[in-house]
Subunit: 363 residues, 2 copies
């Protein structure tokens, strides 16, 4: 499958804008941090490039993988961190505690590492209920046991009332790289096949609804789960997997954009092939958002060579939690750096990086 | 030097109280988190034991060292984390950025590890000035270069106005254990000698004054600095160092209490030997606090065997930043678990763990 230039000729204006942003991407125009800077989309990318990479950049950090690959003491390791500021702290299917474990476990797993050790840093607001903290920590313990990792070091800070929204958690994680495996979104090439490991958008929609600000009821729970077992099974079945990414902030759409840009390829998605559960689709429609942009916390995007596609699909589907895995698209050469969606209506449109932040504080 | 039981006979009431707290230490009485739970003293210890260790405990975490010692991929590593919530973010001598690098570097160094890699997780408040973020990140870069570490992975979250006090930073760090070195506060034994690497309390007093709420002016700057170079020099000169700890939250007094309890020994400190710069002493007196409890961010406590004491002192003093290092006390067998202070007035008193929190949000 390939996409000819003429298919996107009418998108020249959009392309031109993207090029401008790309060229000017190392300049932050805002003087104040906005919610969009934390949303995982364009603004986050600009902030990361203009502030963090400019000052702290080095060959490992510059790669901006979900986890850094290191050699320490002769061992090949992966190292990652994430802060969790989800609001509300408790939601159907999970809470900030299991989220903080699964999120970091997943960042290690999709880098091709076996997650082993976590750190946990708590920032608690004065007055936070100890009973809630107990529930959160109990969930962390269960999630750690399920993922086969140990929390080995921690820290607790307390800030005055009004200085935090109850509880923030940072986890960092160390994993050992699976021998012989080298996953990188930059290695993706035309002809490759794109899969998702399950229905998308459940976590984000669940958290949105749990805020109770919308008058919507839907039977949806977070997909928060460790991906480490599924990744291990996939790497055994398909050692040549090109790249894996968990689809968190910014959802599947953001992951695909990162792949398209890193590998300088086009990713062409068939909208009809993307698994979305009916309550998620319905809620997303009511909210005017695209499920492709909604965060998952237990789903990943996998890119494999064309000959491995069926094996990969079968492996994902036979793993618990992967029953609804699907092939959702293919990689093409042109137009490089872009994600195209063949819509259910038969059209094609560009799936761009998010500019604003439709769903803040989702993770 | 030894301390006979009779010297503390008049402290029996205090001892009895301490015993009660010790026996009941795994039960949290409060239903809400208080500032004291984040102060590094007794309340923190109770929270950690009753909530975190009870649920997440394992042989590595249970040791509660400044950094966890691990084996991953055959490599002996140290792993640690700290969140930084200092207020104000900028203070004489430093800011939250270099603090976040130095603090984690130091936790690795005092564990006997060579700091190598850091993660950085930012929680930013909507509206935070990008200019301030730039200064913070620039300071992190300078501190990382000075300590010889690389920031290799990061994360940025933004919370709504009122959801954070401008900027919180979590850093986690990985170091490689120095071969042949095994530092542990539990290995401290009677007869050992206790040193500090420089004047105490400067960071805490500086931050206190920088808040501008007190009508005190004093010529004092934070001692924030990496200890990794000094630790490396000390371990070369005295490979048999028993234990090192950086004296952060709760200051030198808290470190000495942790040593006394972990090693089941008594630590006897000569107040007159503790280096305290005059403006720090004067400010602490005005505030009614003891400099021994005030956080440093570039000072450590070292415990060495009696035959190594002079070499250790000479090594510390010949290292930049260690010119005012001093022998401040000795380890005795009795009374186990307690820190005693021979005061400048000729008396002896127990230096207990802090119960409340005289200096919140110092790091």
């Amino acid at each position: 499958m390939s996409v000819a230039h003429e298919q996107v000729a009418h998108e020249q204006q959009v392309l031109a804008r993207i090029e401008r942003v790309r060229r000017g991407s190392a300049r932050l125009r805002e003087q104040r941090v906005t919610m969009a800077h934390g949303a995982g989309g364009k603004a986050t990318q600009t902030l990361v490039e203009s502030v963090f990479l400019r000052r702290l950049g080095n060959p490992v950090l510059d790669r901006l993988e979900d986890a850094a690959e290191l050699v320490a003491g002769g061992a090949r390791l992966a190292f990652t961190t994430d802060s969790y500021v989800v609001s509300p702290l408790f939601f159907p299917g999970g809470n900030i505690g299991d989220l903080a474990v699964n999120g970091t476990v997943n960042d290690l797993a999709v880098q091709g590492a076996t997650p082993m050790f976590l750190s946990a840093g708590f920032i608690l607001e004065e007055g936070f209920a100890v009973e809630h903290l107990e529930r959160i920590v109990a969930s962390m313990a269960e999630a750690a046991a399920a993922a086969g990792v140990q929390v080995v070091t921690g820290d607790t800070k307390v800030v005055q009332r009004g200085g935090a929204d109850g509880c923030y958690i940072n986890t960092a994680g160390i994993g050992t790289m699976v021998p012989g495996v080298h996953l990188s979104i930059a290695s993706v090439r035309p002809g490759d096949v794109v899969l998702v490991s399950g229905p998308v958008g459940e976590h984000g929609v669940t958290v949105m609804l749990a805020r109770g600000e919308l008058n919507i009821e839907a039977d949806v729970t977070s997909d928060t789960a460790p991906l480490s077992g599924m990744v291990a099974a996939l790497l055994r079945a398909v050692p040549g997997v090109r790249a894996l990414r968990d689809a968190t902030r910014g959802g599947v759409a953001t992951v695909l954009n990162e792949i398209a840009k890193a590998a300088d390829v086009s990713v062409v998605v068939d909208e009809v092939a993307v698994p979305v559960r009916p309550p998620v689709r319905g809620t997303a429609e009511l909210l005017g958002i695209d499920p492709l942009y909604v965060a998952c916390e237990g789903r990943m995007v996998a890119v494999v060579g064309p000959d491995d596609a069926q094996t990969a699909l079968d492996t994902l589907r036979s793993h618990p939690g992967g029953e609804q895995a699907a092939i959702i698209g293919r990689v093409a050469a042109d137009p490089p750096g872009l994600v195209l969606l063949n819509t259910v209506f038969g059209g094609t449109r560009i799936v761009d990086l998010l500019v604003g932040d439709p769903l803040p504080r989702i993770c």
